[in-house]
């Protein structure tokens, strides 16, 4: 797969999306910050349980999913750029690839959940697993929502609807997708590594 433009291309120079999506993401960020705070406090009081429980997670799943989301984020940047250049076919193609990578994340997560549940670990096993399932499930729902938009806007681009309003809406979708990526960047070390 080739990048749309030359290597010397630089990022855009204006704020992408609408004020509304920036506000929405900020509110979502605050919710997750609060969840992280409660997790850290609970971990302080129950460190042995958290340490033992964390050993039952496979960090490899989290590592692979981090690579997947970072890669899909880059693809969405390329899609937005293609849409700005009115290159509908390229925009649609990049969005489709990003969607497919989201699908790989979904498959990984479902397998990971299955392994945990099959081994007898559930949301009520202990405080650590409550946070593990709760945080990853909320993130998973964000990812699924993002994927629906990626698919929808990929189809719109394919139908050559790369108008100015389409591009702004796609920037909003991109901002949300990058937020899902940034969230996972913190969720991975909190749950799997530290």
């Amino acid at each position: 797969m080739k990048t749309i433009d030359t290597e010397s291309r630089i990022f855009g120079k204006k704020m992408p999306g609408t004020e509304g999506i920036w506000t929405f993401i900020l509110i979502d960020m605050m919710v997750f910050l609060l969840i992280f705070f409660v997790f850290i406090i609970e971990r302080l009081g129950n460190f042995e349980i958290y340490q033992q429980s964390q050993r039952h997670l496979s960090a490899t799943w989290g590592f692979v999913n981090t690579l997947i989301l970072i890669t899909s984020s880059w693809m969405v940047v390329e899609a937005v750029h293609a849409a700005k250049l009115k290159n509908s076919i390229a925009a649609s193609r990049w969005l489709k690839w990003a969607f497919l990578l989201g699908g790989v994340f979904v498959i990984n997560k479902v397998i990971e959940y299955y392994i945990k549940i099959d081994a007898g670990y559930g949301i009520t096993t202990n405080s650590f697993f409550t946070f593990y399932f709760f945080i990853t499930a909320i993130h998973f729902l964000h990812l699924l929502a993002g994927m629906i938009f990626l698919w929808a806007y990929s189809r719109s681009a394919r139908d050559c609807k790369t108008t100015l309003s389409y591009t702004t809406e796609l920037e909003n979708v991109g901002l949300f997708w990058h937020f899902v990526d940034a969230l996972w960047i913190f969720i991975f070390p909190i749950l799997y590594l530290i």
Binding site: R9, M15, M29, I40, F63, W74, F186, L193
Partner: protein, 91 residues
């Protein structure tokens, strides 16, 4: 740094490199205070790069850039300090 963040593709390569570095720190050393701090610090750098360049907060009005960067900094500080307090109080 400017060279690495000049294009989305270069930044992607850099982010992948940072992710592998964090993985190497984790794999090479059992979770401890130093390894945990380094891993979260790398996560904060990655998240900041995504916010500034992929989300283009660097081009956003100062208000938005400050708010998003503050979130990133607060997340990292919370996890690093929380982890340090937890590990030192359970030694």
């Amino acid at each position: 740094m400017t060279y690495l963040t000049k294009t989305p593709f270069r930044l992607w390569i850099f982010l992948i490199g940072l992710t592998i570095s964090a993985w190497a720190v984790f794999e090479g050393d059992a979770p401890n205070l130093l390894a945990g701090t380094v891993v979260v610090f790398i996560a904060a750098i990655k998240s900041r790069l995504v916010i500034l360049h992929y989300m283009e907060a660097k081009n956003a009005p100062k208000k938005w850039r400050t708010l998003y960067e503050t979130w990133n900094f607060t997340c990292a500080a919370l996890i690093i300090i929380g982890n340090a307090v937890t590990l030192t109080s359970h030694q």
